[in-house]
């Protein structure tokens, strides 16, 4: 890990219980540095998605979150949400507008940008994910790969410091998956990627954080973590 680069996101001892009392996260801490791509792995129910919702302050457990040097508080919550771009697992939850343009423009408009800048950002973000010319299409009629890209464009247009992606390659065919890996490598900004896709982790990420039962089980560089098949099985990754 390059300790010289700037910390863009830090989470300190986050704990969270669901309303029914089940403990979902227990003292989870993590640090993300500029330009770093961190894989968040673990079996189903380990608390990965719950953790992601906290990074965007959509859930509020006990703990400290800092993004780009700004600590989360009531006054900064909108800034934090702009700096952390959350891409949901199911693009049908993220693309809720009648056209791709409206969807990508939704965030920039909420920040209050003028129409000209909104249009510029929409065009730029669609270009960045390889969907130029899709502005007037209906998101419902896109292929699953196109939907995933459009979902990334919707947060790209917010110019986040950190992209947080929940299973970006889920349900994609081989070619769609390759295209998405290329896209992840091209995106500017640090990334936290929740995934079960070992190939993605090897191709894209530098560091892995393994979760189990609401805790961080282990953490390390990709080659070290993925080297031992027996351990992978213990952690529920293989």
């Amino acid at each position: 890990m390059n300790t010289d680069s700037r910390v863009v996101l830090s989470l300190c001892r986050l704990s969270y219980c669901y309303p029914d009392g089940t403990a979902a996260l227990k003292e989870v801490s993590l640090v993300l540095r500029e330009g770093e791509r961190l894989a968040l792995m673990g079996p189903n129910g380990a608390g990965k998605s719950t953790l992601l919702l906290h990074l965007n302050a959509l859930l509020d457990g006990d703990g400290k979150l800092e993004v780009g040097g700004i600590a989360l508080s009531k006054a900064t919550v909108r800034t934090i949400r702009q700096k952390v771009g959350l891409v949901f697992q199911n693009p049908d939850d993220q693309l809720f507008c009648p056209t791709v343009f409206e969807d990508v423009a939704f965030g920039p408009r909420n920040i209050g940008l003028p129409d000209i800048e909104v249009e510029r950002r929409v065009r730029g973000s669609l270009q960045a994910v390889g969907l130029d010319g899709f502005e007037r299409r209906n998101p419902a009629h896109l292929s699953i790969g196109e939907k995933k890209r459009a979902a990334i464009a919707t947060v790209h247009a917010m110019r986040p410091l950190v992209f947080v992606l929940d299973e970006p390659t889920g349900n994609l065919d081989a070619r769609g998956r390759r295209g998405l890996l290329d896209l992840l490598l091209r995106l500017e900004g640090a990334q936290i990627i929740v995934t079960h896709d070992l190939e993605l982790v090897r191709a894209v990420c530098s560091r892995v954080l393994v979760m189990g039962a609401g805790r961080i089980v282990t953490e390390g560089a990709v080659p070290d973590i993925l080297a031992d098949p027996a351990k992978l099985e213990v952690w529920g990754l293989a």
Partner: protein, 258 residues
């Protein structure tokens, strides 16, 4: 499942398509209120409305067959709903069926007025939706200061119709794949459960969509879109069409004044 037929003709290039969506919505609303409030038996304004609609339809280059195919079924439905109107008691009797039941002249006139008004109104809305994209209508609603929550609800209804219909189809297939059969009582139980599941899934989806909105800075209070000025042609249509329609209503009165 493809609902693209909703937008089939919005890509055409015509003066009607080029009108600002705000103008089209306002004009249609004004025309509808004038037509609906026309007293039964006054046929000139309604005949005039038909001419006006036909002219707009021809100008828009949307096929008339398509417009009729989408407006007539609604008129037929209204005809069915109002089928008792001709039997209104009182007034001149046209046909006496039994001593107590008769078709009255006044009732028949009312019936004809209801059906023709329903047809005109639906045809106007169909023309509006065939010459304006759905996104354009939503944008215009927002610019006309319709509460944003309302605009979003309409937008979601359009967006998730596809998703819900597809999900229902998948459930039906999964059900049929397991040799669904038996008596209707069993059928209704299973279908009831399917509807419940569909509702629950939609409800959960709504929560996730709301999270996705919040994550991108959604705040129901803000109105981010800036207004765009209307062109001279838009303004002319906005004034001219309602004036003409109002004129057709006032025609007998104007004639009487002379």
């Amino acid at each position: 499942m493809n609902l693209d037929f909703l937008d089939r003709y919005v890509g055409l290039d015509s003066p009607v398509h080029h009108l600002d969506a705000r103008v089209k919505i306002l004009v249609v609303l004004m025309c509808l209120s004038l037509w609906v409030t026309t007293p039964p038996g006054r046929w000139i304004p309604l005949g005039f409305a038909l001419l006006l609609l036909a002219a707009a339809a021809i100008l828009s280059r949307v096929p008339l067959r398509y417009l009729l195919a989408r407006s007539l079924p609604v008129a037929g439905f209204v005809a069915l709903m109002a089928v008792l109107a001709p039997f209104r008691p009182g007034g001149e009797v046209l046909v006496r069926l039994t001593p107590a039941v008769a078709v009255s002249k006044e009732g028949t006139r009312l019936y004809a007025a209801v059906i023709s008004k329903a047809f005109l109104s639906v045809a106007a809305v169909v023309l509006l939706s065939s010459t304006t994209s759905f996104a354009g209508i939503l944008q215009a609603m927002e610019r006309l200061r319709v509460p944003r929550t309302l605009v979003l609800i309409v937008s979601f209804a359009y967006r998730y119709l596809f998703v819900i219909v597809e999900e229902a189809l998948r459930m039906k297939r999964a059900r049929d794949a397991r040799l669904f059969g038996g008596r209707w009582l069993w059928h209704s139980t299973v279908i009831g459960r399917m509807i419940g599941t569909l509702f629950l899934h939609s409800y959960e989806r709504a929560e996730r969509v709301y999270q996705a909105m919040i994550a991108r800075g959604y705040d129901p209070g803000i109105r981010p879109r800036q207004a765009q000025p209307l062109s001279a042609g838009d303004l002319a249509a906005l004034v001219a069409v309602p004036v003409v329609v109002l004129g057709s209503r006032l025609l007998p009165w104007l004639a009487g004044c002379r």
